[in-house]
Amino acid sequence: MTYLMRRLAFMFGVLVAVTFLAFSATNVIGDPLFNVVGFYASIDCDAVIAGEMEDVIGTVAGTGIGECERVIEAREKYHLDDSLPVRYGRWIVGMAQGDFGESYANQMPVSSILAERLPKSMLLMGVSMVVALGVSIPWGVAAAYRANQRFDRASTAGAFGLLSIPGFALAIILFYFFVVRWQIFPSRYMDDNIFSRLHSLVLPAASLGLPLAVVYQRLLRTDLITTLQEDFVITAKAKGLSDRRIMFRHVLRPSMFGMITVVGLNMSALIGGTIIIESIFSIPGFGRELYVSAIRDDITVVLAGVTVLATAFVVINTVVDLLYSYLDPRVRRAG
């Protein structure tokens, strides 16, 4: 087996394991029937319909039959009588074909819920990433350029401070000053046009992006300092290249490995962060939907969410590995 094949098999195995775990766990937690037919889910409806059990919930005999027919109907519709692996198989095949099922809570197709919610969260994550990279790369380069001197020391202290503020606390601090006190940004998500969207996303993206920027800056700084001690930097200097050109063209590129790995690994943390941030800034995004669905046992939505997130995580990490081989050809040869 080639490296690529092994890699793909491993990825596939992880995805199957994650989805199966999530599928089993959600089916143990919530009775899917309960969301559809409510109280009648817990009644032995076969007995009621067969006429063996008359008094269902202390009411007159026969009143529960209508409801019980709905229970049977729902069981057939969602194939709830099959065993767990069979249901998992049916569900995963449906997922692979793009059929995400429908929400138990409001009977909407999950794919249309995702289509409505995901873009908002993707925009938020995209803007956060822009903030994180836009802040960390210049900051890291500036700190490494004169390492252990005044700017670097001050930025190290600042980094420690920022790193110690939890993301949700940072969000509340920003919310307090920029929304409550100075009223620069809206308190709710404005969805009129792209400008109002970006305007509403500034604070959430800052709350998500700044803590990440600190982590990336630290990583980039140490890697830059290591690279700066290599011989080719002296060669470049001897050739008479400007400091700026050496930094950005020759040193930055080979120093980005650590950062790129962490960017990839951080994606799931970022998604976790969106759940809290979206609820603070009332953004109707994917994270918030996932949280609400999990609270109210809306299994199909949670499962679709888990699948999307796990797939994204695995794919991103593969892309990170490919980026490695692009940035450093030695990986390609070794692989």
């Binding site: 290591t226 990839g264 759940i275 996932l290 949280y291 695995v314 450093d328």
Partner: protein, 302 residues
């Protein structure tokens, strides 16, 4: 071989690329004043949290102990919240759940993750592949969904929340322990022990584990900061321990739009307490890490 990205940072294929953070400056072999100030603050908070029932402070749950939503003053040092509870006393009591959950989850995560990493790094082969697979599954499962599932399955007890948090710590610790183990497994003293006829288990427990756990314990303080923050995030979403309250819960109570307008200190005192504690843990942990000279722990999540 598990095709995870850590493969490239293990230093097996590309040692030059991972010369390591802080390789440029020699680690100072003493702990500075910052370290002791930071440890002092952590000790103060921990002591106050443990002794909270004995301290001469107001009952944190008693409504109307002062006027509603009054700012910091001589009677209530941190002011009162919107129903007139004493914020100073609440901040001290809030530390209890925060610190307890944070501490036990990071310790449990280090023990389990450390063990997994040592076994996987020492045995290699199939064991390594299987454990790497498990670690990767833990990493790719969305953290918050994992919490939600655990909490919905097993309830919101103190130990359940602690266990759920430690699951998040395990994969990162395990990867680091594995990398350190691989470095040590080649060393002479391990070969010597094996030549003397020591069993694999003995080599792992007596020779390798001390070498892995002692430097990694320097990272305990950094990890504790992370788990305290994570518990805060959970509590903020109403997913943490159901009985009692932690700093995260207090921040959530103070974070409503109206409360922020009329009584911002309700949110800001627990934020401040959490910030100072996490900052101290980060500072002390970083000093300790340099002291022991270990690589940074890649727990990115928060």
């Amino acid at each position: 071989m598990p095709a995870d990205t850590s493969e490239h940072t293990d230093g097996e294929k590309l040692p030059e690329v991972v010369a390591g953070p802080d390789a440029d400056r020699a680690a100072p072999r003493r702990l500075g004043i910052t370290f002791w100030v930071a440890i002092g603050w952590v000790a103060l908070v921990t002591g106050a949290a443990i002794a909270a029932p004995l301290l001469p402070i107001a009952d944190p749950d008693e409504i109307g102990i002062g006027p509603r939503a009054s700012g910091p003053n001589w009677d209530q040092w941190f002011g009162t919240d919107t129903v007139g509870r004493d914020m100073f006393s609440r901040t001290i009591w809030g530390a209890r759940v925060s610190l307890m959950v944070g501490f036990f989850s990071i310790v449990a995560g280090f023990l389990v993750g450390g063990m997994m990493g040592v076994v996987s790094g020492y045995r290699r082969g199939w064991t390594d592949l299987v454990l790497g697979f498990v670690t990767y599954i833990m990493l790719s499962f969305p953290t918050l969904v994992l919490f939600l599932l655990v909490i919905l399955l097993f309830g919101q007890g103190l130990w359940t929340v602690t266990a759920a948090l430690s699951i998040v710590v395990i994969p990162s610790v395990s990867r680091l322990a594995r990398a350190i183990t691989i470095a040590f497994a080649e060393r002479e003293f391990v070969a010597a022990a094996r030549l003397l006829g020591a069993t694999n288990r003995r080599v792992m427990v007596r020779e390798i584990l001390p070498n892995v756990l002692i430097p990694m314990s320097a990272l305990l303080l950094l990890g504790l900061g992370l788990t305290i923050v994570a518990e805060g995030g959970l509590a903020f979403l109403g997913l943490s321990v159901a009985d009692g309250f932690s700093w995260g819960k207090m921040i959530q109570l103070g974070a409503g739009l109206r409360t922020l307008q009329t009584a911002p200190w309700v949110a800001f005192f627990p934020i401040g307490a959490m910030f100072l504690t996490v900052l101290s843990l980060n500072l002390a942990g970083d000093q300790l890490r340099q002291y022991f000279d270990v690589r940074e722990l890649g727990i990115g999540g928060r």
